[in-house]
Amino acid sequence: MDPLHFLPAWPPASTPLGWVAVLLLAAIVTGESVRRFLRISRVIGYLAVGVLLGPAAGGVIDNGTAGQLRIFVDIAVGMLLFELGQRVDLGWLRRNPSLLAASVLEAALTFMLVYVAMTWFGIRPVTAAAAALLAVATSPAVVMTSIKDLRAQGQVAERLMLFTALNTAYAVIGLALMVGLLDYESHRPLATMILHPLYLVAGSLVLAGVLAMVMLSLLRLFGRRPAFQFSATVSLVLLTVVAATMLKLSVPLALLLLGVFGRLFDHERHFVSLRFGETAMLFIVLLFALAGASLEFTGWSTAVPLALAIIGARLIGKALPILLLSHASGLALRKSSLVSLGLMPMSALSLLMLHELTRRSPALASEVGPPIFLAIAVLAFAGPLAIEFALRRAGEAAEETQ
């Protein structure tokens, strides 16, 4: 018998929790460092750690580990989308219809311009449409994190959240339709093509509606104590993730709607004082690190022109309608251009959607994989810088307290 059996084996066996600890610590330290020494967004630090430790750089986190940590991604995305949904005031669209028009038009024009650019490069229509769909959504993670990080408040911050929630919803619904289209391509019957997206959207609506009412009755019953509200909300967000997954519904759509309904049905304003605090931040940091780890860096040399076309088309598609409707919606042109800039980030959610698409249609991955990954990577790193610049220039960022 080994006389030193009480000593651990070397190297020690790694566990998922171990990776969480390592990744979290590295990401937080790097995030704080880039903030303090480079004065740029912490998100850049979180992403960079993911890239360095991820498979692309031959790091310690391989795809298997990333898969084991998937639950943290789900929790983070869940809380983010819920909070975004909750912060969005659909009544605002009624009070200021120009905003609804701007939102619909920015999403539609982004989709069309990216689609045209892709087909111009000779990409098949179905594939081009899938890529264009990804370009519609702004990263909720980056928008929410930057706004909270800078404690930004004002029209630019509010409109960024509104437009992001809406374009995320459009993209998620579009994805459901796309999935139908891909079903059709793989020669499933026409009925499937129609019923599948219908099930995704209607099912997510019903699920979110029911759970939002459950949540509000809990809050009504047990009052406004913040700690209770926080725990109850997190539990219901998790429940929504699980239920949506089990029912094969759209998880992002269900969460966004849970937030929106949670606010819409809240006639007695139970939610008025709810805030997600630092606990939620931990999951978000992990989300960015894992997003960084899942960026792919192959075949980039040929992907540059197409990636640039995607980014350019996306910028124009988002900026043009928002600028045109600037005055009608009651905002100075200068601030509207900052809103357009702030809508640039693409990040974790785009990656999740891309994985969802490529899983269903491997052909799509081979056709446009590298340019889309490149576009997402560029906007994942440039996006946080753009949005922080926009919030600061708008005078909406609070001074940082050291």
Binding site: G154, V272, G330, A398
Partner: protein, 373 residues
């Protein structure tokens, strides 16, 4: 012409300024929005005057010059409607109230930067407490001597004004037990309080020039007195009101000041003397702390009586003047509030008791401000 020349204005005309809170619709905390709001209002056109204040979460509305209560009220309502419409477009709320009940100063910076730094460097934490919202009522005076008389004679009624308008019971998330906690923030400033006992404009100008030469002050704006003459407008300015929760109350309070001014100027019931201020700080404290139920000491008779009883008696005394000014309707309101002993602080405490949420209280407050029942 010096900035201390008193520009004559028509006696007993009035003007009202209100500092208002700008809130987000999510958690009803103060938010930045004055600049965007003013931009929307300027493009659509609006009655009255709407100005930015030192912080982006405060906006100031002011009426033109009015002789009558009903026209002042109508203008205030029109300004309010324009403001509420613009706020809806930007998803903001506007509310009255003397202080925001739960905003935390160390958590957010709301002052625009250069001026905030200057004030903050001078006053330290006092500057941070100074996110408070008041109503100012201007009363026109034909000359400086009249203004000085009115400044001092009106001081007896300061507890009335404080108690009637008090709407800042909550501060930094707690019930301060004061009806008007806002004034505590004002009184911490070195140049707050009352004007010196000078009854001639020449003498006052001489005093001011000495203060300016000594570099204690740069302009009249540096005096944070409860009542101060405003030579530029040809008025005296009563500054102790918390911003009420409704424009209707703001107009009634202004009418009360106007009727008192008419009584004081036409009947000259008191001779201006330093003894008028014997009980001044005592009365003021009582009004801030206990509102309409506070006790006040009559500086002339040394009689103690509850502030609300003194108001009811005063409304009776000045009834003929109110009638002449066509503001009897406003006096009925004043008497009603005094009679029931309820002010906005009472209303706020009742609502908070029901909802147990200061955010919800601010939501209700903004609805009340918007003219919704």
């Amino acid at each position: 012409m010096s900035d201390m020349d008193f520009s004559a204005s028509k006696a007993l005309t009035m003007g009202i300024e209100l500092e208002l809170q700008i809130l987000n619709r999510r958690d009803c905390d103060l938010t930045l929005g004055a600049g965007d709001l003013i931009r929307v209002l300027e493009r659509s056109g609006h009655p009255g005057d709407i100005k930015p204040e030192i912080t982006e979460s405060m906006i100031e509305i002011s009426t033109g010059i009015h002789e009558r209560y009903d026209t002042a009220l109508a203008e205030l309502r029109a300004i309010r409607d324009a403001l509420v419409a613009a706020a809806q477009k930007l998803n903001l709320l506007v509310a009255g109230g003397g202080a925001h009940p739960f905003q935390r100063w160390n958590e957010r910076q709301i002052f625009d930067r250069p001026r905030f730094r200057q004030i903050s460097a001078l006053y330290g934490y006092l500057a941070k407490q100074f996110t408070i919202f008041g109503q100012h009522v201007h009363i026109g005076c034909p000359d400086g001597d009249t203004a000085m008389y009115l400044t001092h004679a009106m001081s007896r009624y300061i507890p009335h004004f404080i108690a009637l308008a008090a709407s800042s019971p909550y501060h930094q998330g707690t019930d301060t037990s004061f009806d008007s906690s806002r004034l505590n923030a004002v009184y911490a400033f070195p140049l707050s309080g009352r004007a010196p006992m000078l009854d001639r404009w020449n003498a006052f100008v001489a005093y001011f020039e000495k203060m300016r030469a000594a570099k204690v002050v740069e302009s009249m704006k540096d005096f944070y007195w409860d009542i101060r003459p405003k030579p530029e407008y040809g008025t005296i300015e009563v500054r102790v009101f918390d911003t009420p929760l409704t424009v209707d109350k703001a107009a009634a309070l202004a009418a009360y000041v106007q009727a008192l001014a008419r009584y004081l100027l036409l009947e000259r019931p008191v001779v201006v003397h330093e003894d008028m201020y014997l009980a001044y700080t005592y009365n003021r404290f009582q009004a801030c702390r206990f509102g309409l139920e506070g006790l006040m000491i009559d500086p002339a008779s040394h009689e103690h009586r509850p502030i609300n009883e003194d108001i009811v008696a005063t409304v009776g005394t000045i009834a003929a003047h109110a009638e002449a000014l066509q503001s009897t309707a406003a006096m009925r309101l004043i008497r009603g509030w005094a009679g029931t002993g309820t002010n906005d602080a009472t209303w706020m405490r009742e609502h908070f008791k029901r909802s147990d949420s200061l955010a919800d209280l601010m939501w209700q407050t903004s609805q009340l401000w918007g003219g919704m029942p």
